[in-house]
């Protein structure tokens, strides 16, 4: 077991290093000179040369890469010449917005999806089950950015019920929550379907097991059995799914952040890519990749704890 944990963690670190190296090399293959883009067309050669040295671009690529990883270990993600700030400050300023969005999206999706899945399992193969099945599959299929932009169109632009853009007044929690509703709805909608399908199938499995039959034989009310005994087991695969799903959530939140002009890590990366702001792209992608790998590795651990067969497999 410990060997598995160790191997899996080492693999996670290796993956992050390889992925970031690949990205670093890719960015360096881009034609175009970052110094002239940053300084504009009127920059003199001396100014460019000075900036080059400041950004470390005069070093060979492997040296840049080495110092980049060295700096990461000391918590330094680099320096953004545009805004004259540390990249880590910028990234960790934006990250909470994205995490809050993802968290709200998952919470509302779970609050709707779990009961929906339970009732579909209890009423399996009835019309209720068929309809929730179709709706679930439907919500999974529809692209989240279409949901985002349609809800913007309907609830903000046409009905004026909810604010259209931004993340709310600074320090005003109520206004921030108000601005969170539509993006969280858009990001979470597909997960209602995912969660309810997953809970339904694992619930069906659990409901057929021995201890549930015993509980039934004792004459416990079926609602009590479902929500107190069965759900406790049936919920576990969903927890694992969330770990793997964080990549999809990050992608979906990128679209939500752009459609609703919200701050966040997705919008940060998008803007940095558009302006070719390499240090910010690198720092933000590193943090998101690390987040994603940590989440999937945790999901693997949970899986291994629950299912001994997984420990042998990779």
């Amino acid at each position: 077991m410990w060997l598995f944990l160790l191997k899996r963690s080492a693999l996670a670190v290796l993956i992050v290093i390889l992925a970031v190296t690949a990205l670093y090399l890719m960015i360096h293959a881009i034609p175009g000179d970052p110094a002239s883009i940053i300084l504009g067309p009127r920059a003199t050669d001396e100014m460019k040369a000075a900036l080059y040295i400041k950004m470390g671009l005069d070093q060979p690529v492997y040296m840049q890469l080495l110092s980049f990883f060295g700096n990461i270990l000391s918590g330094d993600l680099g320096y953004d010449v545009f805004s004259q700030r540390d990249v880590s400050d910028i990234v960790f300023e934006q990250l909470p917005w994205t995490l809050a969005l993802i968290f709200c999206a998952i919470v509302w999706a779970a609050l709707v999806g779990i009961p929906l899945g339970c009732y579909s399992a209890i009423y399996a193969n009835t019309w209720f089950d068929t309809i929730t099945g179709i709706i679930s599959v439907g919500t999974i299929a529809i692209p989240s950015f279409v949901v985002a932009i349609y809800s913007l169109l309907i609830f903000s632009v046409t009905l004026h019920w909810l604010p259209a853009i931004g993340a709310g007044e600074r320090g005003d929690v109520l206004s921030q929550l108000e601005h969170l509703i539509l993006p969280a709805f858009a990001v979470g909608l597909g997960w209602v379907g995912y969660i309810s399908r997953l809970v339904r199938s694992s619930m069906l499995e659990v409901l057929g097991s021995n201890h549930i039959r015993t509980a039934k034989a004792f004459g416990l009310p079926s609602r009590w059995i479902t929500f107190r005994y069965a759900l406790r087991l049936a919920i576990l695969p969903t927890v694992t799914l969330l770990g793997v799903g964080i990549g999809y959530l990050l992608s979906a939140s990128l679209f939500a952040e752009i459609v609703f002009a919200r701050p966040g890590i997705g919008k940060l990366i998008f803007d940095a890519v558009s302006t070719r702001n390499y240090p910010v792209v690198m720092g933000a992608v590193l943090v998101t990749t690390a987040l994603f790998v940590i989440a999937t590795t945790l999901a693997d651990f949970i899986n291994a704890l629950l299912d001994p067969r997984m420990r042998a497999k990779r």
Binding site: I30, I140, I142, P143, L153, L250, L254, F292
Partner: protein, 305 residues
């Protein structure tokens, strides 16, 4: 003697061919029958055929040239002349939606075919090859999957610039692991089966075992997986085009139609509605179709979701 063997071999081959043809048509007809019996399958079939036919015959159905400008009639609501209205340059949205379907299907089919091919090859190698190769390929797969797709796409687009081939490249690279993993698992399971062990005992060559015996056993699952991948790929294309990083103007794409509409959301809702609806219809259609196909062919493949 040798002549006799040859003729008998030929006749056996001929009989086998006839039997094969019969089974193929039989399977197709049978699948179709079972598909239209399921409400979900029928719905998927109708939605998918609508989209595929309208994309195929876009040049016949479209009332206007999708890139013809008509500035005087810009941002018009739907009318008898322009069924879905016009965009900010006065282009007919209905015609653009039809041609956008062509782009979406082209990107989906070509990139899935490529991803399937590479995934199959790498998966077979990982599953049947030596241990170190398996580990290497799996680590590569994990590395690719460790970027969220859209972030990976953003990185690649900065490198190569936005274009159709960039989208295809991104989709191929990010989907290879999905196919590869399924093939690998299948191959590993198959490698222990008697008919493969027998082949190895008879000293059959590696390519023969892989392509003659393994391939037919994994291809079915792969095709179902591919049909379920179509809506995902179409979403990625539309998403990137919506961000302005995919199909470039003036070529119409559903994503760029929505993007144009987004800039004028306070003037007219129609381009957004018109660009989003075909996306919803397509993703729903292919998902319903894929789910039903999976139920028909392989109930065991049914994953938890």
């Amino acid at each position: 003697m040798s002549e006799l063997t040859q003729t008998s071999e030929q006749s056996i081959a001929a009989v086998a061919q006839v039997a094969k043809d019969n089974t193929v048509t039989h399977v197709l007809v049978d699948t179709f029958r079972r598909l239209i019996k399921k409400p979900l399958g029928l719905m998927g079939l109708i939605l998918v055929s609508t989209i595929v036919l309208s994309a195929l015959f876009a040049s016949v159905i479209a009332p206007y040239d999708p890139i013809a400008l008509d500035i005087l009639n810009r941002l018009k609501p739907p009318s008898s002349e322009h069924w879905l209205g016009t965009d900010q340059l006065g282009r007919d949205t209905f015609s653009r939606v039809l041609y956008g379907g062509q782009i979406a299907l082209q990107v989906a089919l070509s990139s899935i075919a490529l991803a399937l091919g590479f995934g199959l090859l790498l998966g077979l190698l990982a599953g049947f090859g030596p241990r170190w190769l398996d580990n290497l390929i799996l680590t590569l797969f994990d590395m690719v999957r460790s970027f969220p797709t859209i972030i990976f796409a953003l990185a690649v687009v900065t490198l190569t610039g936005p274009s159709v081939s960039t989208i295809i490249l991104v989709v191929v690279i990010t989907s290879i692991p999905i196919y590869g993993r399924v093939v690998r698992t299948q191959t590993q399971a198959l490698a222990q089966q008697e008919f493969i062990l027998a082949e190895r005992a008879m000293n059959a060559s590696m390519p023969r075992i892989l392509f003659r015996h393994m391939l037919p056993n994994v291809i079915g699952q792969l095709l179902i997986l591919a049909s379920m991948d179509i809506p995902i790929v179409i979403t990625i294309e539309a998403g990137l085009s919506f961000l302005g990083l995919g199909i470039q103007p003036p070529t119409p794409s559903w994503g760029s139609i929505i993007n144009d509409g987004y800039s004028f959301i306070r003037n007219t809702p129609w381009p957004i509605i018109a660009g989003g609806l075909p996306l919803i219809i397509t993703t729903l259609g292919f998902t319903f179709l894929g789910e039903s196909l999976r139920d028909i062919f392989d109930p065991k493949l049914r994953k938890d979701v």
